[in-house]
Amino acid sequence: MSGLVVIFSIDEIRGGITQKVLKRSGFETLLLRTILRAKDAIAKHAPKVVIFDIGSYFSEEVNEIRSLCGALEHTPVIVLGNRSITGRFEGTGIRVELVLSDPLDPELIVEKVKEVFSLKVKGKPSEGDTLEEDLKHFLKLD
């Protein structure tokens, strides 16, 4: 599959598992341990999907990730973590089905990433698309 998946996780084991299963499924991945690095990588590499494993982080970090999610309106985001925290991602524009509460389910993550990749391919504008989609395509905003 072409296109990068950026994974942010400060939990070495959870991040490692997520990266491994995605690599095994043929995805190019980049695992980062700090928000700052994740932010840099997103800006630099324009990934197709970003995975935030928020585990059970402190409130301030979660807020920062929330705001980052809000800024990534055109890049699909998958959020992994404890149910009490993933609930705080409502209203950030992330699709509900891409917020995956614990326990960590590697197969489900792969499935969701595949789904996002396939949607992106299907999403290319065609003759039947709306005017907005056509304009976004020409303006490279899609």
């Binding site: 800006a43 800024a71 005017l131 304009l135 020409f138 303006l139 490279k140 905003l141």
Partner: protein, 309 residues
């Protein structure tokens, strides 16, 4: 560019109305001429200036075949004041300034451009209508920036809509570039450059994203820049509308401008397709004088009313 920055910040509130049609052939000159008539009929003292340099034809819409002076004479210092070259249209309260046609006038030297700006701002009229050239050259964008109000003309077709969006984008980036240079913020200027390459910097794809990052560099300057941007509120006019679907194309562009450029179009207006326009052009007469009750004339009147609110 120091002088232009100063002019734009201090005197933007003047009486200039810029008519912009980034895609050629969208009806910009017809709208400029007839809007000038509509405004003059409302009791405003109006002058319409043909700044479509090198391809001027505003005078033709009024049926003016010959006139002693044009903008060439002013640019080439054959007359001292811009007000000296105003041509009488024969209509009450309304004069025009003919565009220039000499080779090279489209690439006017900076000093000459600034002189023109100063004289435009000094014209003793209630309203000065600027009929600008097609395209997104800096000359056109700069005249749009200094105007108090801008009418962005498009037709419902995709190429025209794309050009309208691109024009506003160029204007936004140019205005912000002036501002950040003036504030001596090289780091934010660099960020602004990266925002142009948003495919490689997706966080900067929207103005909101750009401002979020810029605030981390300098919050005060960024907040001031946001205020400047909130002052860019073009009237969006969709011309040659035949169907409800055509009329809705304006809303799509409005949405894109707001979501990606942080620009809120103050008004969205439409002008219906009208055979009266073609007929009037063929007769070299303004539609407003030939068929004052035609759909085109009525729509122009509505725009004039909005502009005077």
């Amino acid at each position: 560019m120091k002088e232009l920055r100063t002019t734009t910040s201090m005197e933007k509130q003047k009486n200039l109305i810029a008519i912009i049609g980034p895609k050629g052939g969208v009806g910009k000159t017809s709208i400029s001429a007839n809007l000038a008539i509509a405004l003059s009929r409302m009791g405003k003292k109006v002058v319409a200036v043909d700044l479509d340099l090198g391809a001027s034809n505003l005078h033709a819409v009024f049926g003016i075949r010959d006139s002693k002076y044009s903008l060439d004479d002013f640019v080439q210092n054959r007359v001292k004041k811009l007000s000296d070259i105003i041509v009488d249209t024969g209509l009450k309260n309304l004069g025009i300034i003919r565009g220039g046609d000499v080779p090279g006038i489209t690439n006017m030297q900076y000093q000459k451009k600034m002189k023109l700006v100063r004289h435009l701002l000094g014209l003793d009229f209630d309203l000065v209508i600027l009929d600008l050239a097609a395209g997104v050259s800096h000359d056109v964008v700069d005249f749009a920036i200094i105007a108090k109000k801008t009418l962005l003309i498009t037709t419902p077709e995709v190429p025209s809509l794309l050009n309208a969006y691109s024009f506003i984008k160029v204007a936004v980036f140019r205005r912000l570039t002036f501002f950040f240079k003036y504030k001596k913020c090289p780091d934010i200027l660099e960020l602004l450059e990266r925002a142009k390459d948003f495919e490689n910097y997706p966080l900067l794809k929207t103005m909101e994203g750009f401002f979020r990052e810029a605030r981390e560099i300098n919050a005060d300057v960024t907040d001031s820049a946001k205020k400047i941007l909130s002052g860019i509120t073009p009237f969006l006019v969709v011309n040659r509308v035949r169907t409800g679907k055509d009329a809705n194309t304006g809303k799509v562009i409005q949405g894109l401008m707001q979501n990606y450029l942080g620009i809120k179009s103050s008004e969205l207006m439409t002008i219906r397709e009208d055979i009266a326009v073609e007929k009037a052009i063929a007769r070299m007469k303004p539609v407003m004088t030939e068929t004052p009750h035609s759909p085109f004339s009525r729509d122009i009147e509505q725009i004039a009313l909005k502009l005077c609110e």
